[in-house]
Amino acid sequence: MIYIAIAVVIFAIGGIGIIWKDNILLKLLSLGIMNAGVVVLFVSIAGLKHRIPAILNTNGPYADPLPQAVIITSIVIGFATMSLALVFTMLISLKKGTLSSKKLQEDIDREH
């Protein structure tokens, strides 16, 4: 149970960062922290009842393999999509000269 609480706390830290931080780069880092929270949540759900990993040369009762199998791919995908998002941030900074979301919003408001 304590691991689920830790996962929720990590997720909340990321969420608060996304809402409060003005810089887009920091928002992205917060998104990465939220991603880590989701991974911790899935792994802790898998180990709720039993802790032994489901590899059959050990003696069971085994942890639930399904959440682990779902989340193993998402770690690499998170890395790839994060680098894509960083490239978008670079494009914004190159074109607008700022990363502050407030200033970007003002820019958009002025154009319309």
Binding site: I55, N57, P65, T73, V76
Partner: protein, 228 residues
């Protein structure tokens, strides 16, 4: 290009038709228990049995998402100005250290990918472990050497070939009269390195693909943004 579109429509149409007419698929969605999963797929790592057996469809499209992300990074950064002065770390001790670490991390990553069905790990993890060594080497090499030794065009061709091989392996059972994504190779003795049918092959291919993708991302970022 029109022919490729036609071929893809025919292939995936066959995929769906075989999926619909095959009653066996339904029993292949969920194992009864952990030992049932090993009996179905031949891989004693049940997590690999899930993501390369029961949930292979999901994994295929995760690989596609990864490919699209890598291509997006390469394409979008390609339009941005490159760094005029690339300043790598040229201390002798650091160069020798990173070159030694490169071999260790590459071999460890490939081991994790190849043995994904009999121990903890798998292609996704192994690819990233293998790529860390290459990223370390990039910190110490001049840009011309990086582009010569890790040629971007060749890496992109290899990546696409591996993607095509994975999809061919998955679509091949259609042509020999089985439902798609069936593990058509002999399962072997569970626990041996040669077991689990297509699972170790797909795992190794995914490992190489993730390695190439991660190295490409790192190389593109270093080319356009420098090492510090």
């Amino acid at each position: 290009m029109k022919n490729i579109r036609l071929i893809s429509v025919i292939l995936f149409g066959m995929f769906i038709v075989m999926l619909l007419i095959s009653a066996e698929t339904i029993s292949y969605i969920q194992p009864d228990n952990v030992t049932g999963a090993v009996k179905d797929t031949g891989a004693i790592n049940v997590i690999a049995a899930y993501y390369l057996g029961y949930r292979l469809f999901d994994t295929l499209f995760e690989i596609l998402v990864f490919t699209v992300a890598v291509q997006g990074v390469v394409h979008l950064l390609g339009h941005m100005p490159t760094l005029e002065q690339h300043k790598p770390m040229r201390e002798k001790a650091i160069i020798i250290y990173t070159d030694l670490i490169f071999g260790a991390s590459l071999i460890t990553g490939m081991y994790i990918a190849v043995a994904g069905h009999i121990s903890a790990g798998g292609g996704f993890v192994g690819g990233i472990v293998g790529a860390t060594g290459a990223v370390l080497v990039f910190l110490t090499m001049p840009m011309e050497d990086i582009e010569k030794e890790f040629n971007h065009t060749y890496m992109a061709i290899w990546e696409m070939c591996i993607l095509a091989t994975i999809f061919a392996l998955v679509l091949l059972p259609i042509f020999i009269g089985m439902y798609p994504m069936k593990n058509f190779l002999p399962l072997g003795t569970p626990g041996h390195i040669v077991s689990g049918g297509i699972i170790p092959i797909v795992d190794t291919l995914i490992g190489i693909k993730v390695l190439i993708g991660a190295v490409t991302i790192a190389q593109t970022f270093i080319k356009h943004r420098g090492v510090f």
